[in-house]
Structure formats: structure tokens, C-alpha cells
């Protein structure tokens, strides 16, 4: 009698424990998009996840992009951590170093048919440290040159794609073409990314030319701004802004998307703005330089927070979101980091705004490109850089001295 009772109690207890783990759960996932189409797709992932975990609902929380990292930090520091979420590339090293991101390697390796090796190695650079995987990049978006074909035609110039096909699309040509465009059409030749090259997108403005010239903003804890290649590259930009007057200067408006500039540098997600723009357009690779081709990619990844209460479940969901099929589905909005998807026909045809040949530019850049440099102290570095970079964007600035000042300011932080 006693043993039966004992057995019954253990069974009941065991059932109780199991049902506890099968109980209804809600995962909180932070994102920075409020776009309907994006949300529809994300909710689709949540629905398909229910197939394996019927009691789990995923709640997406939108935090505006401007303060995203900041507000996320407040949530983490305030004891209100989400389970998982998107993370911007410039925050990834800081967060990983601070230990607030969970190691996803076990969950990813456990997932059936996941094939982690499918992810392109350079694309994982920011998100892995040794064996540990701190995030999975969901958007690996190269920077490309958007150009206004109508303005090029008006100036009687060959468009950048044609030039690139002939191997002539380099920084010198870029400067020449910009000036000709300005003189012929009266519109600016080139606008920095989102018109923010002097404010919030300093890195996106300076880095591509510096890399094309063969330098980098920093490498191996050494500041690269005062090296000759970088100085030459920035001097060229400076001339374009103040001598040629072909780049939109600080304080001026020259929005590419409303026809104010002939070219701009941006990520392909902006292609969605083009139909409204009303002119013929295309995308081209970044101009090459002394250092050869140097595609630049911007990224965003999905992470799981160590302070969250449902880490395993969250990690499973992340694995689910980034399977081959789901990455292919997301490719229409977010360029994938998976080689299999990049190489597929489906990808080159996935974007109905960009013709397949130009999508090849994108695919090329993703597999060869280098991500933006990141550092665990990037907020401080950017803050230290900004005043010195501000000083350099004046008509009579001594470019070399300003860059030296930048290095003096950031070297201690590197």
C-alpha cells in the first residue's frame, strides 16, 4: 500500500513539474521597426514557432530606432530585461563584453538542420567570440551607391554601373563625375548617408573612402585616421565639399530621395523609398580606390539577454527565426548572411524594385564586405570623435591636424 502511495505521489509530482515547464509562456522581443510588412513577417515566425511550442506567444515590442540602444540599456539596467531582441552592430561588442548577452552556440547547434556553417564568416565577425555566439545577424546590408539616372543622362554622363562594368568606377572618377553633375544640373553631386554625414552618420561618411584608399578607421587597437591613406581620402572629401562644392555641405539640404542630389550612399532597404521618388535610378558598387574594392556592410543581429527569465526558450526561438527557410523569407526586407540564400536565384529575384543584375552587386558585397568597425567602447569613441570631426568640416580646416586630433582623442580608448 505504502509503495503504491509513494509511486503515485512521485508520478503526480513528476507530472506537476512537467506541466510547469509546458505551461503558457510569453517571450518579449524588442525591435525597432513599426513597419506593417515587417511586423506581419515577424508575427508569421511567431505563429510557426507555435507548431513546436503551442503555449508560447511572442510579443514584439517596438522601441524607436533613434534611442533604441539607450532605451534597451535602461530596460536591462532597470531589471526589466526583454527575453530577446534586435541589436545594432555598434552596440554588439559593448553588450557582449558586458556579459549581458547569452551564448547561443548550444541552442544553434542543437537545432535540427540549422547548419551554422552556412553563415558567411565575415558576417559573423561582430557576433562571435571564439566558440561563443552572442547573436545571429538577421540583416547584413551592404552600402551601395544610389544614383539618379535621369540626372546622369541630363549631364551626358555614363552611369556608375556602366563605369563599374568597365572597371573605371574609382574615387578619382567619383570626384570628377560629381563635379560634372553639379555643374551641369545644378543639383548636388553626392549626399552623405541620410544627410547625416556630419551628425549621426560620421562613420558612414568617412569610412568607405578611407577603406577604399587602403586604410581603416582603426585596427589592432591602433587609430587609423592619421595614417597617410586616411588623410588623403578625407582630404579628397573635404575638397569635394568645399572646393568642388559637389557634396552637400553641413547645414544644407540635398535629399537624394527628393531629387536634390544625383548620388548618395545607403543600404538597399532604402530602395523602398524609390517608387515615390519619381526618377529613374539604380544602384552601383562603392567606388574602388588605392586599396582596391572594399565593400562595407552594416548589420543588425538578434540576441538573447542573459537577464531574461526564459533564456533557453528564447534561444530556441532565435534558432527558429534564422533557419534557411525563414532567412529566405526575410530576404525581401533584410539581406541574409546565409551563403545558401545569397547564392540562390530566389534572392536575386526577391527584391522587385531592384533588377537581378544589381542584386548581384548586393550579393557580392555581402560575401566580400567588411562590417563597420565596432568596439566595446564605441559610444565613448564616437563622442570623443565627434567634436574633432566637427572641427574638420570647416572651409579652411587643416584636415591633417584635425585627423591627428581625432587619433589623440580616441587612442586612449582603443
Amino acid at each position: 500500500m505504502k509503495t503504491t502511495m509513494k509511486r503515485m505521489t512521485t508520478t503526480v509530482l513528476a507530472l506537476g513539474m512537467m506541466s510547469g515547464s509546458l505551461g503558457a509562456a510569453e517571450l518579449r522581443f524588442t525591435i525597432w521597426t513599426g513597419n506593417e510588412a515587417h511586423l506581419k513577417m515577424l508575427n508569421g515566425f511567431a505563429e510557426s514557432f507555435k507548431a513546436k511550442h503551442p503555449d508560447v506567444t511572442v510579443k514584439y515590442e517596438t522601441i524607436p530606432p533613434g534611442d533604441y540602444t539607450q532605451k534597451l540599456t535602461f530596460q536591462l539596467a532597470g531589471g526589466n530585461a526583454p527575453d530577446a531582441g534586435w541589436l545594432m552592430e555598434d552596440a554588439a561588442p559593448t553588450f557582449a563584453a558586458a556579459g549581458v548577452l547569452d551564448n547561443l552556440a548550444p541552442a544553434l547547434n542543437k537545432a535540427q538542420g540549422y547548419d551554422f556553417a552556412d553563415f558567411s564568416k565575415p558576417a559573423l565577425g561582430l557576433w562571435t567570440a571564439g566558440d561563443k555566439v552572442y547573436g545571429v545577424p538577421f540583416s547584413t546590408s551592404p552600402f551601395v551607391i544610389f544614383y539618379n539616372k535621369d540626372l546622369f543622362d541630363k549631364a551626358g554622363l555614363e552611369d556608375p554601373n556602366a563605369l563599374a562594368a568597365k572597371g573605371q568606377w574609382n574615387m578619382a572618377k567619383f570626384q570628377e563625375v560629381s563635379k560634372k553633375l553639379k555643374d551641369a544640373t545644378g543639383k548636388w553631386g553626392f549626399e552623405f548617408k541620410d544627410g547625416q554625414g556630419y551628425d549621426t552618420r560620421i562613420m558612414h561618411a568617412l569610412m568607405p573612402p578611407i577603406r577604399a584608399a587602403g586604410g581603416d578607421v582603426w585596427a589592432n587597437k591602433q587609430c587609423g585616421f592619421d595614417k597617410p591613406e586616411a588623410v588623403a581620402a578625407v582630404k579628397q572629401l573635404h575638397d569635394m565639399v568645399f572646393k568642388d562644392k559637389s557634396i552637400v555641405p553641413p547645414g544644407e539640404q540635398g535629399d537624394y530621395f527628393s531629387g536634390g542630389s544625383a548620388m548618395t550612399i545607403n543600404q538597399i532597404s532604402r530602395a523602398s523609398l524609390m517608387p515615390k521618388a519619381g526618377f529613374k535610378w539604380g544602384i552601383a558598387p562603392l567606388p574602388t580606390g588605392a586599396g582596391g574594392e572594399s565593400p562595407v556592410i552594416g548589420q543588425a543581429g538578434i540576441v538573447v539577454f542573459s537577464a531574461g527569465k526564459q533564456k533557453e526558450l528564447a534561444a530556441e526561438f532565435v534558432a527558429h527565426m534564422t533557419t534557411k527557410d525563414n532567412v529566405a523569407a526575410a530576404a525581401q526586407f533584410f539581406p541574409p548572411a546565409r551563403k545558401s540564400v545569397l547564392d540562390s536565384d530566389a534572392f536575386t529575384k526577391s527584391n522587385n524594385l531592384i533588377p537581378p543584375e544589381q542584386m548581384k552587386v548586393v550579393a557580392d558585397a555581402i560575401s566580400k564586405g567588411k562590417v563597420l568597425p565596432a568596439h566595446e567602447k564605441s559610444p565613448q569613441i564616437l563622442a570623443a570623435m565627434k567634436p574633432r570631426v566637427d572641427a574638420l568640416w570647416r572651409a579652411n580646416a587643416d584636415v591633417e591636424a584635425s585627423l591627428k586630433a581625432v587619433c589623440t582623442a580616441i587612442q586612449p580608448l582603443l
Binding site: 515590442e61 522601441i63 524607436p64 533613434g66 531589471g79 541620410d194 549621426t200 532604402r270
Partner: protein
């Protein structure tokens, strides 16, 4: 006769000049409001295009888009109910404390007053970090509790206490003494005699506290991270596109919506409002 006529003319010319001068000085005070409203009706492209006050096409759509971009109505309501709550709480707490400091004798009254005064001089930035951790420990981050508690008990609340104290001190004691003789408890005297007599001060405290809470920025910035819990000042700076660039036409339309009701109330009640501020300053 001619002498006084000329003097009158001089006075009239004088007045016109003064009025004109004042009008000119008033331009930067008024113009931003006009510009804000007019830009709210312009399309994004036109805002930078033409410097005219009158929009080429009246984009009523902007005002609808404002509500679609984020839960603006909710955020508006947040600001509203928080301000009302803070005002009610502050009125209660400060009138109680002010009355005690004014009318009751107890050991340590002077010391307490001195300590409270010291709090008036400390900026919020000084204590916000520990307050953040305290709220975290209490699980109150990303709720509205910090936005209600901190203003009520912080420097603004203490200022309110002293305002009430000043006013109570100036009230004639006879009515209160009569009440006490009639058997009213202290609380009763406070509630049925002192409070009704101090309406001007209560109005002053209410108006100042409401405005303060309505315009609070640092605390919501630090404590609130979910969109639907935002207050208006936070919401206003969030009219950005998915890439973080400001959508000026929406931002200015929303700003108009935030500012105009206050302005309307202010214009209607401007006499009382201005008197409240005067009362608080002159006595304090």
C-alpha cells in the same frame, strides 16, 4: 490750449512708439507658435521648401498620421492622467505639511523646515541615479510610478509645501480657533476651515504642479521605455522614420497638438495663472 494739445499728441505718439516696440519684441515670442502650427499643415518637402506661413496645400493628413505613427492618443492620456494624479497628491501632501509647519508647534519644526529648504536647491540630476536603482529594486521601472512619486516628493513638492505654509501663516486665526472651540479635531479644522480659505494658494500650487508634470522630460526619458507608456515630451521627440531621421511635418503637427490645448487653457485662465506664479514668487 495748443500747449496741452501738443502734450497730448506727444503722449499719443509716445504710446504708439512703445506699443510698436513691444510688438517687435513680441515677435520671437509669438512667431514660433505660428510657425509650428503652419508647418504642421505642410508636407515634408514643403517645410524646407518655402518660407511662407501659409501652406500651399493644407495637409490635414499629417494630423491623422500623427496618431498612426505611434500610440499618440495613449501617450497624451498618459501625460494627462499623470499630471492630474501628481497635482492631486501634491495638493494633499503639501497642504497637510504646510499647515503643520504654519500652525502647529512641535519640537524640531524649525529643523525640519531647514532640511526641506535644502532640497529646493538640489537639481534632479543629482539624485536621479540612486532613484533609478531604487525604482529598479522596487520593480517600478517602465511604469508611471516614478513619474508620480518623484515630482510629488521632490523639489517641486517641497516648494509647494512652503507655498502653502506661507499662505497659511498669513490667514487670520480666529476662524480656526472658533472651529477648535466647536470641537473640531485638527484634521477637521484643516479640512473644513483652513483649506477652503486657501483657495488662491491651492490654485497656484495646482497650476504650477500640473505644468511641471506635463512638461517633465528627464524622468520619463530615464524611466520609461515602452512606447505605449511614453508621455508627451518623450513622444514628441520620437517622430522619426525607421532610420532615426526626424519626420518634421509629423513632429511639428504633434507638437501643435500638444501645445495648443495648454495655450487655450492658458489664454482663458491667464489672469489666475499669472497671479499664481506671482503669488508663489513674491512670497517665496
Amino acid at each position: 490750449m495748443t500747449a496741452s494739445l501738443t502734450r497730448r499728441r506727444i503722449r499719443i505718439i509716445n504710446q504708439i512708439c512703445w506699443t510698436l516696440a513691444l510688438c517687435i519684441v513680441a515677435i520671437p515670442f509669438v512667431f514660433p507658435f505660428l510657425w509650428m502650427v503652419s508647418s504642421g499643415f505642410k508636407s515634408a518637402a514643403e517645410i524646407f521648401g518655402s518660407p511662407s506661413l501659409v501652406p500651399r496645400e493644407w495637409q490635414w493628413q499629417n494630423f491623422i498620421d500623427v496618431f498612426k505613427h505611434q500610440p499618440f492618443a495613449r501617450q497624451y492620456l498618459n501625460s494627462l492622467y499623470i499630471a492630474v494624479t501628481v497635482t492631486a497628491l501634491t495638493l494633499l501632501v503639501s497642504s497637510l505639511a504646510g499647515y503643520a509647519l504654519a500652525r502647529m508647534r512641535f519640537a524640531g519644526a524649525a529643523l525640519v523646515a531647514l532640511f526641506l529648504v535644502s532640497a529646493l536647491m538640489v537639481p534632479e540630476e543629482v539624485t536621479i541615479i540612486p532613484n533609478f536603482f531604487m525604482m529598479r529594486w522596487a520593480g517600478l521601472v517602465d511604469t508611471h510610478w516614478p513619474l508620480i512619486l518623484l515630482p510629488t516628493f521632490g523639489p517641486q513638492g517641497i516648494m509647494a509645501t512652503f507655498l502653502m505654509r506661507q499662505y497659511f501663516l498669513a490667514l487670520p486665526k480666529e476662524l480656526e480657533d472658533a472651529g477648535k472651540m466647536d470641537g473640531l479635531s485638527r484634521l477637521g479644522v484643516w479640512w473644513s476651515i483652513a483649506l477652503p480659505m486657501s483657495r488662491p494658494a491651492l490654485a497656484a500650487v495646482a497650476i504650477i504642479t500640473f505644468l511641471n508634470s506635463w512638461n517633465l522630460f528627464l524622468e520619463p526619458l530615464i524611466f520609461v521605455s515602452s512606447l505605449d507608456k511614453f508621455t508627451l515630451p518623450l513622444a514628441l521627440s520620437n517622430f522619426t522614420d525607421p532610420y532615426g531621421m526626424p519626420l518634421w511635418h509629423l513632429q511639428l503637427a504633434a507638437t501643435s497638438l500638444a501645445v495648443i490645448p495648454i495655450l487655450v487653457v492658458y489664454i482663458i485662465a491667464q489672469r489666475q495663472i499669472i497671479e499664481s506664479f506671482a503669488l508663489s514668487g513674491v512670497k517665496g
